[in-house]
């Protein structure tokens, strides 16, 4: 069947090619192939109809496509690998798609799934990312292919990664990119681009400079996006060699302080240099076009709050020009280093405005004498109402802030607890806080701009692009509540439902209070740290500690007896010290209630978290048994004093609920929830994390577990793209990890097809099976 389809497709292709050739020879246009009708031979992108072996295609490549897919990539020759890599290019990151590259430099877009089938067949075999998934390309620059056919330089051969050219910085490696080599420095940034010349020497190519053609005639150009803003660094050093930092001459009449500020601000696109206003004050201005008569100036910020030049009021065509230092406006010329020939104009002498008339200091009348409060009579007759004593504002010396102003400043500076703020003050502080954070974000972005200005790696969509689509789940309490509702059949279950509803209502009430106080961010940040398997035990212990305190005296059993008993032999390091201290305190005071506060403070500070986490002995000892870290009395896992808190990579957030259905919708990103622990806790690096999720998706796809995993009514998801899942699709992770076949296949997939990931896992002392067991456990499945 598949062969028939191939044959038909080839027939169609040949027919289209013939029609196209005929139309070209006659100059006619074809109605059934409108795109090709207008596409000449020199067009950059060929359509499917034009891409064929006899129209500039690559015979070897076509043969490779038709050859049976080997079972292992090891069976492929280097030549075949080279052909494969050369002919498929994922340009999703640039908004393009997947392209097939041909020998003559043209390419055709693989627009349909049929077009991509050969790609998909081989993609499974070769360890390169699938369409839209290119983790290893994520941080690398992009080589754009110039579509013209350049002179072939057969002597140029791509260098191996280990082949370091002379002059390369220590620690740098060579990243092969489309057959060219880019220097990747030890700090992860990209340096200059080099390629091997005919004589074996390395020749540098800058950004935007065309490379000589490769053996296949394809020419490349390394392209980094132009920086969108900030042509100059705040320090005044230009990051672009073609745009040296301007050097200004101080105009007459400008103070050193103002000139320093001018120089500083001139390098900031968001700020502007100054000019002299009509009243002689310094006025910030923006420049439109630099260096010619079109230069215009418009006031933006009046530094001294003085009057604004009325002639400039109607000038709305302002903005930052590329060369603000070449402004030849009305006041003065700011000579720049690359404009040495310009004759600075002397600014007009600043007109000193007349000193403002200082109004006389108001005479503050003496505060009226407040009569002493009259004590209320024991019997209150319906007498005349005593007017309230007027509140006399305290006299404030001129120049000093009033109490209201002081209070306002204290509120804005965060010196007043939220609980003591009025609603207006809360709103003012919240707005101020948001503005402050926005400024910090802007500063952070500016710093990132600085980093990316020289080399701007082209980010390609990683797994998140696909997984974000499916990895959303509803809030855990909703899941829990709905489960209870669904199962509430017996009186006991209804009682449980009520209790759970009450707890959820309380949670909602706490969220409301959090919002009222304007402390959502810190609260959520703190609570998110209690996560995963440790969280369930942690909160249970918190509750039981409270119960112990409530019941009076039993709490000592919690602190002194229960926790060590439950944590047992896993106790070690700080935890044992903590428990010992509690024991000592218990013996000294004998008052249970005092232990709740230190207990919770201990939990908050992480001691309790680690205590509980390290108490999850079985999982941890299983996971860490291959790499015991030593320590006192810890069995397979004994945390060292410095790292005694278990890096609970499998403590995926809300794992107690992930065993339930996961539904698309607003909520947490489940991809992050599934993998963040692995990465954040150092169990896997970033690529390993993505590879793990990729392997998971790959296993679901290739081993036909999509219908086990996903649910949307009675719809079948077999063959449905991950990007096309309907909203409301439910992912059943518990079902998947409960399925021994899937677990087996998943294990095999990682071991066979993801050797780097397997090595990454092994480096942490686990085998893949244990690793997956831990992940399954985090989804509430014990295997």
């Amino acid at each position: 069947m598949a062969e028939d389809w191939k044959t038909d497709k080839e027939k169609i292709q040949r027919a289209r090619d013939a029609a196209l050739a005929a139309s070209r020879s006659t100059g006619a246009t074809s109605t059934d192939t409108p795109r090709t009708a207008t596409a000449g031979p020199t067009d950059a992108v060929r359509t499917a109809a034009t891409a064929s072996p006899d129209k500039g295609g690559d015979i070897e490549y076509q043969k490779l496509l038709r050859a049976p897919v080997p079972k292992s990539v090891d069976e492929m020759s280097d030549a075949d690998k080279s052909i494969w890599h050369r002919h498929f290019r994922d340009e999703v990151g640039r908004g393009g798609g997947t392209f097939e590259i041909f020998k003559d430099g043209t390419k055709r877009k693989l627009a349909t799934r049929e077009d991509r089938l050969p790609y998909l067949r081989w993609q499974k075999l070769i360890d390169v990312p699938a369409i839209g998934i290119a983790p290893e390309w994520k941080d690398e620059p992009t080589m754009h292919i110039i579509e013209e056919k350049g002179p072939s330089e057969p002597d140029e051969k791509p260098a191996r990664n280990s082949d370091r050219p002379i002059g390369m910085e220590a620690g740098s490696t060579v990243v092969n990119l489309e057959g060219y080599d880019v220097e990747k420095k030890a700090d992860g940034t990209f340096g200059r681009i080099r390629m091997r010349g005919k004589n074996g020497a390395w020749r540098e190519r800058g950004v935007g400079e065309a490379f000589p053609a490769r053996r296949d005639g394809v020419r490349g150009i390394l392209s980094f996006p132009e920086p969108k803003k900030k042509l100059f660094t705040p320090e005044g050093t230009s990051s672009r060699p073609d745009r040296p930092a301007p050097v200004y001459t101080k105009p007459e009449g400008m103070s050193d302080e103002d000139f320093a500020e001018f120089n500083k601000n001139t390098h900031e696109p968001s700020k502007t240099p100054y000019r002299i206003g009509p009243g002689g004050e310094w006025v910030q201005a923006l420049y439109v076009h630099g260096g010619d008569s079109k230069t215009k100036v418009a006031p933006r910020v009046n530094k001294t709050d003085g009057p604004v030049d009325p002639s400039l009021k109607n000038n709305t065509s302002w903005g930052l020009g590329n060369e603000p230092h070449r402004w030849t406006g009305s006041q003065w010329v700011l000579a720049s280093a690359d404009n040495s020939g310009a004759t600075p104009m002397t600014p007009p002498a600043p007109v000193i405005p007349p000193a403002p008339v200082v109004p006389p200091t108001p005479v503050i009348p003496p505060a009226p004498v407040i009569p002493p409060a009259i004590p209320p009579a024991p019997v209150i007759p319906p007498g005349p109402v005593v007017p309230p004593v007027p509140v006399v504002p305290p006299a404030t010396p001129p120049g000093e802030p009033t109490p209201e102003e002081k209070r306002r400043r204290a509120v804005l500076d965060g010196l007043v607890p939220p609980a003591q703020m009025s609603s207006d003050e809360l709103n003012a502080w919240r707005q101020h806080d948001q503005e402050r954070r926005a400024r910090e974000d802007e500063a952070g972005h500016a710093a990132m701009d600085e980093i990316y200005r020289t080399v701007q790696p082209t980010g390609r969509p990683g797994l998140a692009g696909v997984w974000d689509r499916i990895m959303f789940r509803k809030p855990p309490e909703t899941t829990m509540e709905q489960d209870l509702i669904r199962n509430a059949r017996t009186p006991e279950e209804k009682i449980a439902l009520r209790s759970m509803q009450a707890a959820v209502l309380r949670r909602n009430g706490l969220d409301n209070r959090t919002r009222q106080l304007g402390i959502e961010r810190p609260v959520n940040s703190i609570m998110s740290r209690f996560k995963g398997a440790g969280k369930t035990a942690l909160f249970a212990v918190t509750a039981v500690t409270v119960f112990g305190v409530l019941t009076g005296g039993v709490g000592s059993a919690v602190v002194v007896g229960l926790i060590p008993k439950l944590i047992g032999a896993a106790a070690g390091g700080v935890m044992s010290t903590y428990v010992r201290n509690l024991n000592e305190q218990a013996g000294r005071t004998g008052f249970v209630g005092k232990y709740l506060a230190p207990f919770i403070a201990g939990l908050l500070s992480g001691v309790g978290t680690g205590m509980i986490a390290s108490g999850i002995g079985e999982l941890i000892s299983n996971l860490m048994s291959a790499t015991p870290t030593g320590g006192a009395g810890a069995g397979g896992f004994a945390p060292s004093p410095s790292s005694w808190v278990m890096p609970d990579g499998f403590d995926l957030r809300d794992c107690g609920y992930l065993g339930h259905a996961v539904e698309i919708g607003p909520g947490a990103n489940f991809y992050e929830a599934m993998t963040s622990g692995l990465c954040d806790q150092g169990l896997l690096d970033h690529k390993g994390r993505e590879a793990f999720a990729h392997a998971f998706q790959h296993s679901v796809d290739t081993d036909h577990f999509k219908n086990v995993f996903l649910e949307f009514g009675n719809r079948s998801f077999e063959g449905v793209s991950w990007k096309m899942l309907p909203d409301g699709t439910i992912g059943h992770y518990d079902k998947l990890f409960s399925n021994p076949d899937f677990v087996k296949h998943f294990t095999n997939t990682i071991e066979t097809n993801y050797p780097s990931l397997a090595r990454n896992i092994a480096n942490h002392g686990w085998d893949v099976k244990d690793f997956i067991r831990g992940v399954a456990y985090s989804h509430g499945v014990r295997i």
């Binding site: 500076d413 007043v416 607890p417 939220p418 502080w429 279950e493 009682i495 449980a496 009520r498 209790s499 759970m500 509803q501 009450a502 309380r506 949670r507 706490l510 959090t514 106080l517 402390i519 810190p522 609260v523 940040s525 703190i526 609570m527 209690f530 398997a533 369930t536 035990a537 942690l538 909160f539 249970a540 918190t542 509750a543 039981v544 409270v546 119960f547 305190v549 409530l550 039993v554 059993a557 919690v558 229960l562 944590i567 700080v574 209630g593 709740l596 506060a597 919770i600 403070a601 939990l603 908050l604 500070s605 992480g606 509980i612 108490g615 999850i616 002995g617 079985e618 808190v645 107690g656």
Partner: protein
């Protein structure tokens, strides 16, 4: 296969004082899983309330400090920070923890009356 965290929670639930608390909430005959879910949610609420109330008492300028201490393992510094702004911190935490438990019980009774 039972893992230790579930064994831990089971042991907690089987303790005499926990049984007493569950009885107060009417959950003494409920399934272990329901008891566990309730205890966990209640514990989270208690912890959340304590965090909220502590943050409400701390000036915002100290919030980042508090955040940084959470999970840092510096229990003494955490205690010192709390004690700086909340003089009787033990009583404070104790009171809010118990209030949260009592508030939950009140909610249960409200729902009970509404359902019955």
């Amino acid at each position: 296969m039972k893992t230790n965290d579930h064994a831990l929670i089971e042991d907690i639930l089987n303790e005499e004082f926990m049984q007493k608390a569950l009885a107060e909430c009417g959950l003494q005959n409920s399934k272990l899983a329901d008891q566990e879910a309730f205890a966990i949610q209640l514990g989270e609420n208690i912890m959340r309330r304590i965090v909220i109330e502590i943050l409400a008492e701390l000036p915002p300028i100290e919030h980042p400090v508090f955040e940084s201490l959470v999970g840092s393992g510096k229990a003494l510094e955490m205690n010192a920070l709390i004690a700086k702004y909340i003089p009787n911190s033990a009583e404070f935490i104790h009171r809010h923890a118990i209030d949260e438990y009592e508030a939950t019980k009140t909610e249960i009774h409200k729902l009970e009356q509404g359902v019955a």
